[in-house]
Symmetry: C2
């Protein structure tokens, strides 16, 4: 509800809301936000008003609270045919006016309906293992929402009991909310032991914690891995056969680093490291800090893959500090207390935020383990657009 | 060529090259860069050496220039089985040592083989119109390279005479070097006049200069538009029928702004603007500065679309300066002296860097013009990986 609306100095309207908060809206901003049919295309919701055509010194002809409690402004537009009457609901002004409130500067939060993220270590994730059955996942919007919510909160979610007859089933899962993101590895890719591996993932070798495709201009946000086959062959200890998957919440480790080793945190957030790979005669190369922050200083992306990192290119006085900082970060990553470890069973689909959760696999003996995963990537903003639409 | 290599203070080897330049390489960096078969997987080129396992205080057991002029280091590794001998070519050290040269801090430049970009306005681009025939484009690597080079240099290239029988021909063009990037609009999309348009592009309306998909986490880098049909119907002035395409080099305009209006340039590079759209019940939303710079302060991306920009959310003292700065930028964008304008003919494929070159279309009368474009997007780093492989 609006208590009052008056013209204020400095080209602004001063609005008092009924909770006594006060915001000043610049006239040019109000005119530019006009939602009338001349300014917004009704069918598409896209803006017709060309901001650039506005008089930057525009002032309202009339400005008042109308009898429905809305702010109403009549503008002195150039032509009579295009006389604009802007009508703003109190709730809209209150929401978008947060950044104009006295003593506040709060951006409208697009994620405001989402629950907070929860960073985790081994103990925490074991208590709240984010899994659901394929039946539940398939049961309408509620199942899809639950799964997407797990991914938002924990950066990882497991669907159990996904059919394995169709090797491309993982695409059907993605098609429920978006589309598969193609890469140079194809629409989907196989992870299995191969005699002549073109990629280290396709050997029985231990794969350290890593994020994928750091050498691309934007690493894919969401990765899905569908276990089609995982059999222990022959005699002997199953544990010794190896091949377990592990996942670590990179945001949790980065947060730990910021809290306990702020100098190391600073170096890893400010030193770009080159990631690179050669594939089919093509070279991919990109610079990323190991811990990328957004403009608010919040954790945005983790980039770490020992196998594809290039020689550090930095001022010489940063070289040794960088190695020390990286060691603190990676030691904590590899601490068993950080890890979620489990043997993927046929029918498991693990989906994880590839820019938050690092993944890896213990070594395995390809003569003892027959293992086949089918994977794919998805633009994670597509996943979150769908998630937000279900909230 | 190496003149000398000696152990220096502060855990480094001091190398003098035969052009008298001097670089200091930290031991940990040299050990981490070892290219021996124990450290790098021969078949895949991926690193086997786990940086995190290294002794951060490692020192060479022996360090000398061998009889082939290479730097050779023998390391005192823990186990005798894994004794490492690192061999570095002088040229490799020289290239990667730029950042360790005294008084220099130059990163290895992955784009070093590419010609410089050329920013353009109307006069310049008219003299060097970056076009080639479909026949030339199809003539092996040389044609593909020429086309990709145009895109790198000018941010735009036209192929003429592309067959129009197959409406999806644009995918064949992309498949020569990469794969189509799917979006919520599909693998390809149509731009044509429709009676009930779900998107403003599909009306006869004037479309101002814009970049596409600013509301995604990463706007697609490369866009292709294939003109399948463009006929002027009925009597009267062809010019009056409208429907011409225009393109503007956003980097040129941004550079002009930095040179002539540095305060406006600063505001547009530092103020995030929200871009948003609702589609099929889903909301996409992303913050970008209109002019995004990289960490060196070089132009990286342009984001501007009047139709999808949301209410500015910024401290109140920035609101009016932002509108003034934007007007200076957009007025220059719309200056006819900035524009490349032409009527697309059937068979034309225009490809452009969607994060550098803004595009638009003059209004047209859908009763006079029958117009059909087929478009698609591509990850531009895929295009440049291919381009670099052809240099």
């Amino acid at each position: 509800m609006l208590d009052s609306a008056v013209v204020a100095p400095h080209h602004a309207a001063k609005i008092v809301f009924n909770d006594h908060s006060v915001a000043e809206f610049k006239f040019i901003w109000l005119r530019d936000s006009c939602k009338c049919q001349l300014c917004v295309h009704e069918a598409t919701g896209q803006r017709l008003l060309d901001s650039n055509s506005l008089d930057l010194n525009i002032r309202p002809k009339e400005l008042y609270i109308n009898d429905r409690g809305q702010l109403e402004i009549i503008w002195p537009d150039a032509s009579q045919q295009e006389k604009h009457r802007s009508i703003f609901d109190a709730s809209w002004l209150y929401r978008y006016g947060q950044c104009f409130m006295e003593n506040t500067y709060e951006q409208q939060d697009v994620e405001r309906n989402r629950p907070p993220k929860e960073l985790w270590d081994r103990e925490k994730i074991k208590k709240q293992f984010p899994k659901l059955s394929y039946t539940e996942f398939q049961s309408g919007d509620a199942g899809l929402r639950k799964w997407l919510e797990y991914i938002h909160i924990f950066g990882i979610a497991v669907i159990q009991g996904v059919p394995t007859q169709n090797q491309e089933e993982v695409r059907e899962i993605v098609n429920r909310f978006a589309y598969v993101k193609q890469t140079a590895y194809g629409l989907t890719f196989d992870v299995l032991a191969e005699p002549k591996a073109a990629h280290l993932a396709n050997t029985g070798r231990y794969l350290e914690h890593h994020t994928d495709l750091n050498y691309r201009e934007k690493a894919p946000g969401l990765q899905l891995l569908h276990c089609l086959k995982s059999e222990v062959l022959g005699e002997g200890d199953e544990e010794a056969a190896g091949g377990k998957s592990f996942f670590v919440d990179g945001f949790h480790v980065a947060q730990w680093l910021e809290d306990h080793e702020p100098a190391a945190f600073h170096i890893l957030t400010s030193t770009p490291l080159r990631f690179q790979i050669k594939m089919d005669g093509k070279r991919y190369s990109q610079l990323w800090p190991v811990i990328a922050l957004d403009s608010h200083g919040d954790l945005a992306e983790i980039h770490y893959n020992n196998r594809t990192s290039g020689p550090l290119q930095a001022p010489n006085n940063v070289v040794i500090p960088f190695y020390h900082a990286l060691k603190k970060f990676v030691d904590k990553l590899r601490d068993p207390a950080s890890e979620l470890v489990f043997a993927m069973s046929p029918g498991d689909v693990v989906a994880f935020d590839n820019r938050r959760v690092l993944h890896g696999r213990t070594a395995f003996n390809p003569r003892r383990i027959a293992r086949h995963l089918k994977g794919c990537y998805v633009d994670i903003d597509e996943a979150y657009s769908k998630y937000d639409s279900l909230l």
